[in-house]
Structure formats: C-alpha cells, structure tokens
C-alpha cells in the first residue's frame, strides 16, 4: 500500500522533470523522514525555551536595577546585531571546545542542545523587546491599583504586567516564532541531522537538488503556517475587549 503510493508519487512527477526516485530507496527515505522529525523536535524544544528566555530577559530589563539591566541591554544589542551563524560558531566551536578541554573528552552538551540554546537566546532577545513594549504599555493606573492592593514586585510582574503584556505583544511574538522556525535550518551548519542536513546528504549522491528543496520549502511553509494558526487561535482566545488593539 505504502510502496505503491510512493511508486505513484514518483510516476506522477516524472513527466514534470522532477525525479523523486530517492523515496524508493528505503535508507534515503528513512534518513529524510528522520530529518523531518529532527526539525520538528528542534522547533518543539526551541519555541518554549525561547519564550522562557524572553520572559526572563524582559523581567531583567524592566526590573529597574542597573546592575542587571545594563549588562542585559548590552547582551540584547550584541545579539540583535550579529549573525546567528556566528553566534552558533562562538557557542559550538569555542564554548563547547573549552568545556570539552575542561572535562577532558566528551562535552555533555550535544550539538542539538547548542542549536536550541543559541536560537532560543537569539529569539528570546526579540521576544523580550516585544514583551518590554507590552509591559511599558500597562497603564500606570493599573499598576497603582495593584500596588495599593499590596501586591509585591514579583506578584505585579507575574499577575498583572505579564498577562497584559502577552496580549499586547502576541502578534510580535508569533512573528518571532515564525522566524524561529525558519532559523532552525542553520542547525545543518554544525551537522545536526535536520531536514536540510539530511537533504544535503541525499542530493550530494543523487543530484536531485531542486526536488528536495521544493519539499523542504513546503515543509517549512507548513510549519510556519501552523505556528501562525496557533497564534491566531491564541489571539482570539486571550482577547480582552478594549485592550491591546
């Protein structure tokens, strides 16, 4: 059943000049499927981690403590104005090398984890900027009301500012997450077996670059569309009449 479906797939695209013959090879098909799965895992890990970093950085930036806010501001500026690939190299080739030397053989952090950390930090900075704008948009009256109800700083942040800031920042956050999904493609630069990497392996044997690239583009299109869909659903669900438009 599955076999014949694949045969039909290859036969359908042959007249168009697209050779999808690799799906009939069990090894290459499973490698490509593994790549799709790894990319999905990368997204599933990086999205929540980046949101966590975003909240932490935004909390630090708006804390009003100079010793915390100043270095974070510098970190934000460096992260925003340097390429992610170079950041990944600085983390994977430099920090990973230092950790390996320190421990004497074998770093506990796998390349997959480095990609998650670097991409999550990079996008976390952009989340933080969006959240900060949201936090600063919380009306002063609301803050005064919360203070007069004897909320502590942390309570005000987690129970008043963040819930309002998230609603305000949601469109920007979803935009960042769409960018994040696309950014996971750089995992292939340090040989994490994501869909781009596995495709490079396949097309260096078979010279079917165009066919594979169309599949990759469709896959990323599907993922970004899903993220956008979830974002729209959340926007609908969290919408408070009269706030955040």
């Amino acid at each position: 059943m599955f076999e014949s479906a694949l045969q039909a797939w290859v036969g359908f695209f042959k007249p168009l000049g697209l050779n999808y013959g690799f799906v009939l090879d069990a090894g290459e098909l499973s490698a490509f499927g593994r790549g799709l799965w790894v990319t999905l895992q990368l997204c599933a890990w990086t999205i929540p981690v980046s949101l966590l970093f975003g909240v932490l950085i935004a909390a630090g930036l708006t804390s009003g403590r100079a010793w915390l806010a100043r270095p974070l501001q510098a970190f934000v500026e460096v992260t925003r104005n340097t390429p992610t690939l170079v950041q990944l190299y600085c983390a994977f080739l430099v920090l990973n090398m230092l950790i390996t030397q320190k421990l004497g053989g074998g770093s506990p952090i796998a390349p997959f984890a480095w990609v998650v950390i670097v991409v999550a930090l990079h996008k976390g900075v952009f989340h933080a900027e969006a959240l900060r704008a949201g936090i600063e948009a919380v009306p002063e009256v609301t803050m005064e009301a919360a203070r007069s109800l004897a909320f502590s700083r942390r309570q005000i942040l987690t129970q008043v500012q963040l819930p309002l800031a998230v609603r305000f920042a949601l469109p920007a956050l979803v935009n960042n997450l769409v960018d994040l999904v696309k950014m996971t493609a750089i995992a292939s630069a340090i040989a994490v077996g994501d869909v781009t990497y596995e495709s490079i392996m396949i097309w260096s044997y078979r010279d079917n670059v165009l066919e594979l690239l169309l599949l990759i583009l469709m896959y990323f299109g599907l993922l970004t569309w899903l993220v956008g869909l979830v974002g729209k659903w959340l926007e609908e669900r969290l919408r408070m009449p009269g706030y955040g438009q």
């Binding site: 230092l98 670059v209 165009l210």
Partner: protein, 272 residues
C-alpha cells in the same frame, strides 16, 4: 506651559557638551580601550602570541569582510529594484496580478534564507552561455541572488505599507488641485513614502548583511570562512577564542551603527 519654554534651553545646554556624551557611550569607550591596549602592546612589543597571530591574519579577515559587504550591497540593490516593481504591481487594480505578487511575497518571506541560498547555489549552472561567450557565474553572485529574493519580498511589503499609509484624502485633495495621477504619485506620495520607508529599509539591510554569513556554508570565501581557515591553520585554543569573538565584533561594528542610526530616524519620524 512655562516648563515647555524652560526645557529646550536646558537641553541646548546639554548639547554644548556633546563630546563627552559621545565618549560616554559604552561601546565607543570599549573600542577606545581596546585600541589603547593594542597601542601599548605594540609600543612595548609584549603582545600575546594569539594577538600577534590575529594581526597576521587581519588582512585576510578584512578581505573576507569586504566580500560580505559587497554581497550585502548588491543583494540589497537587487532586492530594492525588484521589490519596488513587485510592490507597485501589488497595488495594481488587476486581482490576478495582486494574487501573483501576494504569492511571491508569501513564498520568499516564509522560506528560510539558508534554504534559498542553497537553492540558488546548486540549481543555477556554474557558467552562463550568452551568445557565443561563456560567462563564469561565481558562487558569490548566486548568493547575491539568493539573498536578493527574500530582500525583494520584504521591500515589496515595506513599499506597499508606505503607500497605503498615505491618507487617501491627499490623493483627493491633489486631484481637486488638478494634479495628474502620475504627478500626484511623483510629487506628493513618493517623497513622503521614501521618508517612511527608510527606517524599515535600513533594518532590512542590516538583517541581509547578517545573512551574508551564510555564504560561508556554500563555499564563498567570506569573513566567516576566513576566520575558520585562520583558526584551523593556527590551531591554538586562545587564538580560536580570539578569532571567533573578533568575527562577532566585526559584524557588530558594521551592523550596530546602522541600527543606532535607524533608531534615531525612527525617533525623528515620530514627530511627524
């Protein structure tokens, strides 16, 4: 209202001392401190071995950076030209044309830039047959196209947004003053649009410049490639650390002023 009158004079007092204000910028202070440290090392001849190796590789790194800048400028020029055409077509009255440009913008904005760079590098031939001549089609030029495509989609969106942000009442007012359609566009709408587009356009340029680092993955000899070669050739732990952080610093030194200038333009724009 008395405060409004007092405040500007106070501010002009502060601008008279602009030089220390510039020096107080932490990034500039860091740059000056590094320069002073290197001068001291050069004067006394006590620079650490890794720093000496870095100076040995410095010309190669700068040549790499020049390649990145060349790619980014050409990609942005290509992207701007194509993007203005696509943006203009996306405002046309024909629904078919509008839908086509919509698809173009969606496709190239939602594709990972790395995948587009692979796409143009591997799908295009390595030389072009033009008439009787065979023109070489080097990899860096393919990267220019690979970055120009997403740039054009973004420029199209920026342009469309800017045109639509001009109140339609201006068109009507100009029409009632007997301006022709082309005149309204050229003399009234376009000058305002250019001013509104500039900050987003510069943001896009900075982001395209950062994406040129991906060229190293398809074998273009750019800054990242130069740093990798240097680190593998020298093969010392301290030099590897130094060269990769120099890489980060060089990109930062090029992109951060653009970002600051963009922010300044945006702030000035808020007064309109």
């Amino acid at each position: 209202m008395a405060n409004d009158l007092v405040l500007p004079t106070r501010r002009s007092g502060a601008t008279r001392l602009w030089l220390p204000a510039v020096l107080r910028d932490p990034w500039l202070a860091l740059l000056l401190a590094l320069a002073a440290l290197n001068l001291a090392w050069a004067a006394t001849g006590t620079a650490p071995a890794a720093v000496q190796a870095l100076w040995h590789w410095w010309p190669a790194l700068l040549r790499g950076l020049a390649m990145n800048i060349q790619i980014s400028v050409l990609a942005m020029a290509l992207g701007t030209l194509a993007g203005l055409v696509v943006g203009a077509v996306s405002l046309s009255p024909s629904p078919l044309l509008r839908r086509l440009t919509r698809a173009y913008v969606l496709l190239f904005r939602n594709a990972p830039i790395l995948v587009l760079v692979y796409f143009t590098t591997y799908v295009f031939p390595f030389e072009l047959a033009l008439g009787g001549w065979r023109l070489p089609f080097p990899d860096w030029l393919k990267v220019v196209i690979g970055l120009g495509l997403p740039a054009s989609a973004n420029v199209a969106e920026i342009f469309r947004g800017a045109i639509q942000s001009i109140p339609s009442a201006q068109w009507e007012a100009a029409q009632s003053l007997a301006f022709r359609r082309a005149q309204i566009f050229r003399m009234i709408v376009l000058p305002q649009c250019l001013r509104r587009m500039l900050p987003s356009w510069m943001n896009l340029y900075a982001s395209i410049t950062m994406s040129t680092s991906l060229a190293s993955l398809v074998g273009v000899h750019d800054l990242v490639d130069a740093a990798t070669v240097a680190s593998n050739t020298v093969s010392r732990t301290d030099f590897t650390i130094l060269v990769y952080f120099t890489l980060l610093a060089l990109f930062f030194a090029y992109c951060y002023p653009i970002a600051r200038w963009t922010r300044y333009l945006e702030r000035r724009h808020e007064h309109y």
